[in-house]
């Protein structure tokens, strides 16, 4: 990566011409002289091996390990050029100085930065595609477990959704919107130090990152063909440096506060409510437990207090970087340990990263990168389960006869009375978390190595081989629970259970490329072409059963051993590809890029084995035109346009094109149900075999047709840059396992079923300035607006409902979204609530007009919810359900402010989403006295208790309290639970101080920086739930934005240091 300078070329040229006279005068007296000085970075760290050259000559030198240099200036030369990888090149007039100290600025605000693109690098100013880059500095600022969390708000148009705040980070990465309805069908391709993988980046230590480049449009991504539709995230880790070996330690310690809690009833109020409901129950079917009749004698339990705790996060990275001219090495060891704020949850990671670069001869070089990580994580009680804390009745009295406490310290855990139908289905999550054993351990190894030969000036041949391994071993053990049965003979005993599963994934990739870079006259050519082969082999197995006792965990000794359905065996997939990219530049004004990739994939049948993905782009560097020479306010302006096709094959599993046959399994695997397929003849059972999946030779990849028009501009001498992109993304033939017309003979079939469209605008603005001598600051803003439209479904219907139910219990909650053709994906769906019926007359009037005499439900009484008759037929039924809003934001983005003042540095970072809706299922729970979806009663919120409708205290917001809501339907999915999900979160506030070198050098420390930071200090939102940052559960866009008790977040208080020797 050689640095060239040109963005300020014009200005310098102008400046030079202005001073021409002076130069000429000086020429007569000039002579060779020595200039010395020091080159440092903005944090005043010396830059070793920076290049110092005399402009217009071949004279150059490098700085030493202290950043010092000395160079002889030939006669007539007046300008020194300072350059260093990752920094802005600087030119300094040295006519009057003999000591010149230079501070090089980081590249991130400049068109000169080098961005990593597929199979190569390019200068930002020459890029024709849409690429966002996130430098290491921004990644390091927020302590996160999962690298993708660090990208949130940093790259315009890249939506990082924290699906929940569980340890380890559970995120979805959406680049330019949703292109697929399938679970996991929207994951981008990651290229980690040259290795392409769809596996994500959660196993990479964020401290090892040098930069992340996000390729967004087809021009940039098409070189990755069939895996590129969702964008490409290129991750580059820190390499070794020439010069003295640096040893460094980065560490932080982060305390996490307990999360916000729901305000719930204590035992007294709750029993009082129970008595109120019982008294008002005209059907006399509800009877609370006798002990609830006297609320004062009850003992309260607080499940939220019991399950939430303070969290602790620690991160240590130690390593070294250094090397000679021929070998450079970087090595780091990282340890990350997070104790989550929900009981039992944790995430641990040990990571090793090694990068070795060799350059044995001038024409041959190699680079090897190896990353190992050991990960141990568990969240036994997380998203989807946590709503239990809000609904478990607040008293355990009359349950465990030994204790009414959640746990008494003597080994006794409270349980609910196993014989009372009102509470027997509730359990004690503290007992489960503390007595069950879990293990989820993964070992990752990603290693790749390339050898590159320069055959001729500009002509390079490169071969790159990599392997990617992950080994997962998980187990779950649950001891026999007969505690309730001992005290209440005949009640439930849950038997012991042990389950173990393993998933072993091995993948290799081999890529060979030929590249040629040449400039002749005004023409510049950059070409790269190559071939690639990749093979993935996964072996998995899992089984469980009843162990012989509470100690032995050997699947060979369990009884009732059952293997996981479709969970045992080997899966192999392959990809073989050819690709090429040609960039042609003319006169540094016009750049054309053409890219093509042909991918052969084992996922598809012979007819569709190979996909070809072309793209083209053009860029016009307007400011280089002669007519722009006098426009001084604009230092850089580039217009870009690209168009191309890219593919996606990750929405489906393997062998979906094959006719498949099975015995004893249901034909509708996705729909559940048991069908033995066999049949008896003459009263003897014979086996049956049926097709479980029809042949689908036409099955093919999803195709994204992407258009991008962008502007890159720099103003104020480069201090202010902005990038604006308009894009259109037409995803067609998206792959989905969808309910099939019954006539196919299958309940679900995987097919290319539809098309989707995303249009949007992305803006990234950066301003960097200096105020006074010591104060440097920068402001960065990213914003994106994306409009998603489902444009077609070929299966015949005009909508799809949510797949999977998220386990939402309660009448009607199996369907809560419908994605209609013409609408956005994941629209909430349900009834329109008009408030609460106040009088019988109101109900009678509506019933009077209803054809069958009933407007809504026969049981409807004052205090029940009033739903709108949308279709005007004077009755409310399932046909009156409507779209209730969309979980996808209109706008999202991040605002970053950073500054340095002398030895102090400062960072402030906000993230926000706007215009999205949240379906607050949990609120419906907090307003439900009935245990959702079954017999029993549950806790409610204090707000509901104080405000629910009673004849003497009418409410138009809170329905009456009922022990059974099924007949009245007050809690169905409706607009009552839809809330504005917009928020702005203060994600980070960081203050750092670098100790003066005068002090640190005494201890041979070249740099010591201390910092404190605070995360999630406050959130500005109207959302009434605990946290509006609610994600896409199960990576499935049809169940996005539903608050069903997501793993909560809270404030982090972090102290850290960066130490370099």
């Amino acid at each position: 990566m050689r640095q060239k300078s040109s963005s300020y070329a014009r200005e310098i040229k102008r400046w030079l011409s202005l001073s021409l006279f002076l130069v000429l005068c000086l020429a007569a007296v000039s002579q060779t002289r020595t200039v010395t000085g020091k080159v440092v970075d903005p944090d005043a760290r010396p830059l070793a091996n920076a290049t110092v050259s005399v402009k217009g000559t071949n004279t150059s030198t490098s700085t030493d390990t202290d950043g010092a240099y000395s160079i002889n200036m030939p006669a007539n030369s007046t300008v020194l050029v300072f350059s260093f990888v990752g920094f802005q090149t600087s030119e300094v007039d040295v006519r009057t100085n003999i000591v010149v100290n230079v501070t090089l600025q980081l590249l991130n605000n400049n068109m000169n930065e080098v961005v990593v693109i597929g199979y190569g690098t390019q200068k930002r100013k020459d890029v024709t595609g849409s690429i966002s880059s996130v430098p290491a500095k921004q990644i390091e600022q927020v302590p996160v477990a999962n690298l993708s969390q660090a990208l949130q708000g940093r790259a315009a148009g890249v939506q990082i959704v924290n699906n929940d705040a569980a340890p380890g980070g559970n995120t979805s990465v959406l680049i330019r919107g949703i292109g697929s309805l399938a679970s996991g069908g929207n994951n981008p391709l990651y290229v980690i130090d040259g290795y392409p993988t769809t596996g994500g980046i959660q196993n990479i230590n964020p401290n090892d990152i040098a930069s992340i480049d996000v390729l967004k449009d087809a021009s940039a991504t098409a070189i990755y063909g069939i895996r590129a539709a969702n964008g490409v995230v290129i991750v580059t880790t820190k390499k070794g440096t020439r010069g003295k070996v640096q040893v460094f330690l980065d560490m932080y310690l982060s305390m996490q506060s307990e999360p916000k809690q729901y305000d719930l009833l204590n035992a007294f109020d709750w029993a009082t409510l129970s008595n109120e409901v019982e008294a008002a129950d005209s059907t006399h079917t509800y009877h609370g437990m006798p002990i609830w009749k006297t609320p004062a004698q009850l003992h309260s339990v607080d499940w939220q207090d019991a399950m939430y705790r303070k969290g602790l996060m620690q991160n240590y990275t130690v390593g070294f970087r250094g090397g000679s001219d021929k070998v450079q090495t970087a090595f780091s060891f990282g340890y990350f340990d997070q104790k989550g704020i929900v009981l039992g949850s944790y995430f641990k990671r040990y990571s090793l990263n090694l990068n070795v670069d060799f350059q044995p001869t001038t024409w041959l070089r190699s680079s090897t990168s190896a990353k190992y990580a050991y990960q141990d994580a568990n969240v036994p009680f997380g998203t989807g389960s946590l709503f239990q804390l809000a609904v478990n009745p607040p008293t355990l009295d009359s349950g465990n006869r030994k204790t009414f406490l959640i746990k008494d310290g003597q080994g006794n855990y409270g349980f609910y009375n196993p014989q009372n139908s009102n509470v027997f289905k509730f359990n004690n999550p503290v007992y489960s978390v503390e007595t069950n054993d879990y293990s989820n351990i993964t070992n990752y190894l990603l290693a790749s190595s390339f050898l590159e030969a320069t055959l001729y000036d500009g002509l390079k041949l490169k071969t790159n081989f990599g392997v990617n391994l992950s080994n997962f071993t998980g187990s779950y053990f649950q001891p026999e629970d007969n505690r309730a049965n001992l005290q209440y003979p005949g009640s439930i005993v849950s038997s012991a259970f042990y389950h173990q599963n393993m998933n072993n994934n091995f993948e290799w990739v081999w890529e060979n490329t030929l590249s040629y870079d040449h400039t002749f006259g005004k023409h510049t050519i950059n070409f790269v072409g190559g071939i690639s082969a990749q093979k993935n082999t996964t072996n998995l197995m899992g089984a469980g059963g009843t162990p012989p006792n509470n100690v032995v965990r050997d699947l060979g000794q369990v009884s009732n051993l059952k293997f996981d359905q479709y969970g045992n065996g080997q899966l192999v997939s392959t990809l073989a590809s050819e690709f090429a990219r040609l960039t042609y530049g003319y006169n540094d004004r016009y750049i054309l890029t053409g890219t093509i990739r042909r991918d052969g994939s084992s996922r598809f049948d012979t007819n569709n084995k190979y996909g070809v993905f072309p793209s083209g782009a053009i860029a016009w560097k307007v400011t280089n035109e002669s007519f722009m020479q006098d426009v001084s306010w604009l230092s850089d302006l580039k217009l870009r346009a690209s168009y191309g096709e890219v593919g996606n094959q990750n929405s489906i599993g393997l062998y979906q094109y094959q006719a498949l046959y099975a015995t004893g399994f249901p034909s509708n695997v996705n729909g559940g149900g048991v069908d033995n397929l066999g049949y008896p003849f003459n009263k003897l059972y014979q086996n049956g075999i049926a097709q479980t999946q029809p042949a689908n030779p036409d099955l093919k990849w999803e195709t994204d047709v992407q258009t991008d028009i962008g502007i890159d501009a720099a103003l104020l001498g480069g201090a202010l840059t902005f990038t604006v992109d308009w894009f259109k993304r037409d995803s067609k033939d998206f792959l989905l396992t969808l309910a099939a017309p019954a006539q196919t003979g299958y309940t679900y079939i995987t097919r290319n079923v539809g098309s989707m469209n995303n249009k949007g605008i992305e803006v990234a603005i950066n301003y960097r300035a200096t105020a006074g001598k010591d104060f440097n600051y920068g402001i960065g803003l990213t914003l994106a607006h994306i409009k998603n439209t489902l444009t077609g479904i070929t299966s015949g219907t005009n909508f799809v409902t949510n797949f999977g139910g998220l386990g939402l219990t309660g009448q009607g909650w199996d369907e809560f979204t419908r994605s209609y053709v013409g609408g956005e994906v994941g629209e909430f769906f349900g009834y329109q609530s008009l408030g609460i019926f106040q009088t019988k007359a109101q109900i009678d009037a509506l019933n009077g007009k209803a054809p069958g005499g009933i407007y809504w439900r026969a049981a409807t009484k004052p205090g029940d919810r009033y739903y709108a008759d949308i279709n005007g037929d004077n009755v409310v039924n399932a046909d009156d359900r409507i779209s209730l809003g969309n979980p996808q934001p209109n706008v999202f983005g991040g605002l970053n402010f950073d500054a340095t003042y002398k030895a102090w540095d400062f960072n402030l970072y906000f993230y926000g989403v706007f215009g999205n809706k949240i379906l607050n299922f949990n609120e419906s729970n907090l307003e439900s006295f009935q245990k959702r979806g079954s017999e029993g009663v549950e806790n409610v919120s204090v707000e509901y208790y104080n405000n629910h409708w009673t004849p003497s205290r009418p409410s138009n917001r809170f329905a009456r309290a009922l022990a059974n809501d099924d007949a009245t339907g007050n809690l169905l999915p409706s607009s009552a639970w839809i809330e504005d999900g917009s928020f702005v979160k203060m994600k980070n506030l960081m203050i750092g101080y670098t100790l003066p070198t005068s002090w640190s050098s005494k201890y041979s420390i070249s740099r010591l920086r201390l910092y404190v930071s605070f995360q999630n200090l406050f959130t500005i939102t109207k959302y009434s739930g605990l946290d509006p940052e609610i994600g896409i559960q199960g990576a499935n866009p049809t169940q996005n934005g539903v608050d069903n008790g997501t793993y909560p977040t809270s404030r982090f208080y972090t102290f850290g240091l960066n130490l370099t020797f």
Partner: protein, 581 residues
């Protein structure tokens, strides 16, 4: 030296790198996880299993009982529903009725399994996995089952989409009803040429489709097409006339120990492993009657705790004096059970544990009018209306034959045997004879028709049936008139021979929509726009002026077709709904 290295590098690059990535077989991976066609069908048993799974779609209570049986019997008002499906009693079946959707869905699952089988069978034969004879038989079974499924679909819904290929997008619109029946004829003709004769079918394969069964359905389909000549030819085929015969004793036709008897042309087979529990925890597997059958559900609530369907006293009244089919079809207050098997094992009703316990406990429900232990299905003074008095007191005894069943109550061993393994006969020779009689009537061969009727009626009387055909009484108890119109004679015999089975309403509709409506109206005295239950108008033990679940809603022309399931329309907008739904 440097140059040498470069050359070696380039050669290594081209010799190793390019061939690997370009090799086509690299992209051909083998599915070792699930069975592809090549992997699965490598021995005869596998190919047989493929065809077995087509039969399997009929082991489904939604399809068999709640769709076909309901349709065949509730639509005629001979039987009614008690429980969740009472809207059937008023012909108010919603397009969202789940069981009809299952009927539709499972029918097409079966059709898809058949369509997929043809290719597999051919390939297996070409590979030498199976021989020509087995390939023929299996293909024949697949054609038969596909044709039979289309027969019930077209008979129930009218025209339905014809799916005849293993690959379809499922968006085919409905064909005309005639086109579907023509397809049935075509499938059955293929089946006739490929299937085994009943006489050559190995015992182990009892229950598989035979040539005779194919001729029976071909004839029935041709009758829907009004091709009575063709139908007659099919019914007269020696495969039917020489290989099947009426059971001498009508009781034996449906007896538990006479399954797969010589009169049976096609029956859906059930099998319960000996010793398997028969209660809710046992043989019952979703999505319904996967291994065992649910006949006990329709027995009286007093006996089983269930009683989900019950009979019309008009049917009981309509049996002509001396007709032995009466108590083997419908029983009411004061009637003893006539099933030889139940009498042999239990001595009749009095042998049921529930009755014994009840009687010993002094419960009058289980006490005869004579003060002894009850041995009749309710007594003349205490009919078995069920605990809500919402049933007529009459029950279907045709499906009350398995002596092992106890319903929801337990036997003396404390076992509740809800689910049994009695096969369900869809087509039997008596129906063929009656259908043939109708063909002859249509073709003006009245003597021939009468001869066929006589075969069936003589068996019903256990000797010589009365020459004059006349119902025992009208629905209101008034005296019935002799039936002299030949077609009406055939229809009356359809009713008395086949009610409580899987064909009566279909056969009436096959004779004509108006014919069916008029016949049912006359038989039950139906009243237009009457939706509420009425008291039994006929004198007798249940003539108490109270309403006991007896409905007299008139059947309308729109209601001779089932609604196309809403769920099917939702996924295939090319489907049009039947009028009136």
């Amino acid at each position: 030296m440097k140059k040498g290295f470069k050359i070696i590098f380039i050669m290594a690059f081209f010799s190793l790198g390019i061939p690997v990535a370009c090799k086509k077989s690299f992209l051909e991976t083998t599915n070792t996880f699930q069975g592809s066609q090549e992997a699965t069908f490598n021995k005869p048993a596998d190919v047989i299993s493929l065809v077995n799974a087509i039969y399997d779609t009929y082991q489904n209570s939604d399809l068999l009982k709640k769709s076909i049986w309901y349709w065949a019997n509730f639509e005629t008002h001979d039987f009614f529903n008690w429980g969740g499906d009472v809207m059937w009693n008023n012909y108010q079946i919603p397009a969202t009725f789940g069981a009809i959707n299952t009927f539709w869905t499972y029918s097409y699952i079966g059709i898809a399994r058949a369509n997929a089988a043809f290719g597999v069978i051919t390939k297996a034969k070409d590979k030498g996995v199976i021989d020509q004879a087995l390939a023929d038989r299996l293909s024949g079974e697949a054609y038969f089952l596909r044709g039979m499924t289309y027969y019930y679909l077209a008979s129930s819904f009218g025209g339905v989409p014809l799916e005849l290929s293993a690959i379809t997008n499922g968006l085919t619109p409905r064909s005309s009803r005639d086109s579907v029946f023509k397809q049935v004829v075509a499938d059955m003709q293929k089946a006739e040429s490929l299937l085994l004769s009943k006489s050559s079918l190995p015992v182990a394969d009892l229950g598989r489709a035979t040539k005779g069964a194919a001729y029976a359905y071909e004839g029935s389909a041709r009758m829907w097409l009004k091709d009575y000549q063709g139908a007659l030819a099919a019914f007269n085929n020696p495969e039917l006339t020489t290989k099947y015969s009426l059971m001498q004793n009508f009781a034996d036709v449906h007896e538990y120990d006479k399954q797969n008897n010589n009169e049976s042309l096609f029956e859906v087979q059930f099998y319960k492993k000996a010793g398997d529990p028969q209660d809710w925890s046992g043989s019952w597997q979703p999505p319904g009657a996967e291994l065992a059958w649910i006949d006990s559900f329709s027995w009286p609530q007093e006996l089983t705790g269930q009683g989900y369907d019950y009979g019309n006293p008009a049917l009981w009244l309509s049996y002509q004096t001396g007709d032995k089919r009466k108590l083997l079809t419908i029983v009411g207050p004061g009637d003893t059970l006539a099933s030889p098997g139940i009498i042999a094992k239990l001595g009749g009703l009095k042998g049921y544990n529930q009755v014994k316990q009840g009687f010993n406990g002094g419960n009058p429900i289980y006490t005869g009018d004579d003060g002894k232990i009850l041995n009749t299905v309710g007594t003349l003074t205490r009919p078995w209306y069920g605990d809500d008095k919402g049933r007529t007191g009459y029950y279907c005894s045709k499906k009350w034959r398995d002596p092992n069943l106890t319903g929801g109550n337990s036997n003396e061993q404390g076992q509740s045997n809800l689910f049994g393994d009695q096969n369900q006969i869809l087509m039997r020779y008596a129906e063929v004879l009656l259908s043939r009689a109708e063909c002859k009537v249509r073709l003006n061969d009245i003597p021939g028709a009468m001869a066929d009727l006589k075969l069936v009626r003589d068996r019903a009387w256990g000797g010589a049936a009365p020459a004059t055909m006349q119902d025992g009484a009208n629905y209101d108890g008034t005296a019935a008139q002799p039936i002299t119109d030949p077609l009406q004679m055939v229809l009356s015999e359809y009713r008395h021979e086949l009610t409580g089975e899987y064909s009566l309403f279909y056969n009436l509709c096959r004779a004509g929509t108006d014919v069916a409506i008029a016949f049912i109206k006359k038989a039950n005295g139906t009243v237009d726009g009457s939706y509420d239950p009425i008291p039994n108008p006929a004198p007798g033990p249940t003539h108490d002026g109270q309403k006991h679940g007896l409905y007299n809603t008139t059947l309308t022309a729109n209601r001779v077709l089932m609604p196309i399931p809403q769920a099917a329309i939702a996924l295939n907008p090319n489907l049009t709904q039947n009028p009136g739904y």
